[in-house]
Symmetry: C2
Subunit: 347 residues, 2 copies
């Protein structure tokens, strides 16, 4: 008498036999498809419960045989952070290929609502799912909503459109990020007093505006010794940012801290170094890059706030895959945290 090969593992067939129905019926109940009497539904559900049946994910996937196409709509001019996300996509591509899903990447002008919206309208319908670095603009919202209406899964990436019907936002709470920057500046300065400058790329970008809001909240309400200067915009560009810093340094001799909300951190750091102010001005920016890494090591930057590009890229892919196959997603895993990175915990 030998052991049963499947000792303990309940299969759909077992449920069917036990409930006195066919496998097709169990399958219908399992997926809430119509065409089964209520009484039967209950009986099958009970049996599933009683036997503790769990469908074999791989078998289901194979039998379903669906393939999905996803598209990542990214900004045309990739800064280091965006480039990092795109780079991660190649790893993800092979992970997805083994699951018969594929991704395309389309680049478009993020600052141009019209261009972004028409990209979505033109290409969106070809895909089962879209991840888009969005611009919060009515035109874009409508484009997203139409895709959702047509059955496409849409997730926003890095920059959200909260009023849209997108299924999910992959990114951080940018107000909290701004607040975090504010607190770190306040704490690092101790009891020093003076001016705090904020440099943004463009305050038309929702994430930049939100970070500004956060840092203003904290500095103005909790650090009375510090005065926040009016934000300046440097279009995420190193040269522009350098020039801005030079102007700020001469105009405000008591400048004690700089928070760079967007990209172009290199320009700021270099300007500080050239002015010989790198050590005494507290400097906080976003995203771990080779350059910010170096700035942290040598003490030009005091902290970097980071949303792991790898995590975001993987999360977007996982969420698209799960939602378009209506599988469950692990909420905690898809939560993107604001990482505070200093010299000692660099990844």
């Amino acid at each position: 008498m030998r052991l049963l090969p499947d000792a303990g593992i309940v299969k759909l067939k077992d449920v069917a036999r036990e409930a006195g129905v066919s496998t097709a019926t169990v399958d219908r109940v399992l997926h809430g498809r119509p065409g089964v009497r209520d009484a039967t539904v209950r009986r099958v559900k009970d049996t599933i419960e009683r036997l503790g049946f769990q469908p074999h994910a791989a078998a289901a996937e194979l039998a379903r045989g669906r393939r999905q196409r996803f598209c990542f709509v990214m900004p045309k001019t990739l800064n280091l952070f965006m480039a990092d996300i795109v780079a991660q996509l190649s790893t993800i591509r092979s992970y997805l290929a083994a699951r018969r899903a594929l991704i395309d990447v389309i680049e478009t002008d993020v600052f141009d609502a019209e261009a972004l919206a028409s990209t979505l309208e033109d290409f969106g319908p070809r895909y089962d799912g879209i991840a888009v670095v969005a611009l919060d603009h009515p035109r874009v919202r409508v484009a997203i909503d139409e895709l959702v209406e047509a059955g496409t899964v849409v997730v926003t990436l890095v920059s959200d459109v909260p009023s849209s019907r997108r299924a999910h936002y992959v990114g951080v709470d940018n107000i909290a990020a701004g607040r975090t920057a504010g607190t770190l500046i306040g704490r690092f300065l101790g009891n020093r007093t003076g001016k705090v400058a904020v440099i943004a790329g463009s305050l038309l970008l929702r994430d930049h505006a939100e970070r500004l809001f956060g840092v203003q909240q904290v500095i103005s309400s909790e650090y009375s010794g510090l005065t926040l200067l009016a934000p300046v915009e440097g279009r995420d560009d190193d040269a522009h940012n350098s020039a801005l810093v030079n102007r700020l340094l001469t105009e405000y001799p008591d400048l004690v801290a700089i928070y760079n909300i967007g990209a172009g951190t290199t320009g700021i750091g270099n300007a500080l170094i050239e002015a010989g102010r790198a050590r005494d001005v507290v400097f906080i920016g976003h995203d771990v890059t080779p350059q910010t890494r170096r700035f942290l090591m040598v003490g030009v930057m005091d902290a970097v706030l980071s949303q792991s590009p790898g995590h975001e890229a993987r999360s977007a892919a996982r969420v698209l895959l799960a939602l378009s196959r209506n599988e469950p997603i692990i909420a905690e895993q898809e939560q993107i945290g604001i990482d505070i990175v200093i010299r000692d915990n660099l990844p």
Copy 2:
């Protein structure tokens, strides 16, 4: 003339036809199994390459039909952090169940090398993989190595045994964690001077010893205004820690900071509050719990260093699954970072 249903998707059968061999041979080549002539191997590999064939993960998993059993060996007395990991395992259990893998949890005395080692010896061989919160002791190392020798996949969790043959360590770099605490203390204190206390659970635990080492490095070499007191041990216990803090506060009127290396943070915070020193003593500890969360909100704690229990639990499960099925693991995803958590970026 209708489109081919599988347009563009290469299957193992296609490779076989194209290479002029049977599917069995392709399968053998694919998995490096013996019994194929060198010339054939090359030909098949070329074809795979040329066609860009990627095996369908779900089909492979189904056909293989393997089930694996994993075991998490956890400390008997669960502190909040460990309890959190165990709690996460129930979510993970259902994820794994859908992949025909299951996990058991065994609790044992982590401080007792003998007990831990014999637990591993007794139960280990029943499993395909083990995740163990290890104690770095020769007896334990041998037990781990024997399991590995016998073909069990072993990963260490939270606390490593670097000299063992474990396949992977799921946890943070604790020296870096200590350094991070040191830098934060130094930065938060600004130019204040005084004594810095370090409270550990037990310096026999590798992770505690490493964190101590890290904080010592930073404080002694970079903050000459600060004096690190000799570490005290409070066995991760609230009552012990409270008593220790009371003693420290009276003995050193110029105590300016406390770093709690292990658990029992509640005891320390409460002692500080009762002594009316909560606001002026910089206090840094580990792990986000309901209590540390509250301490951060009200300003008793200045920062919490955290290794996400959810991330660690999931990572251990993913790594065990991947390694025991020899599938690739995504290195970056399994890298556990040291999270710096302040009031503003609480998860």
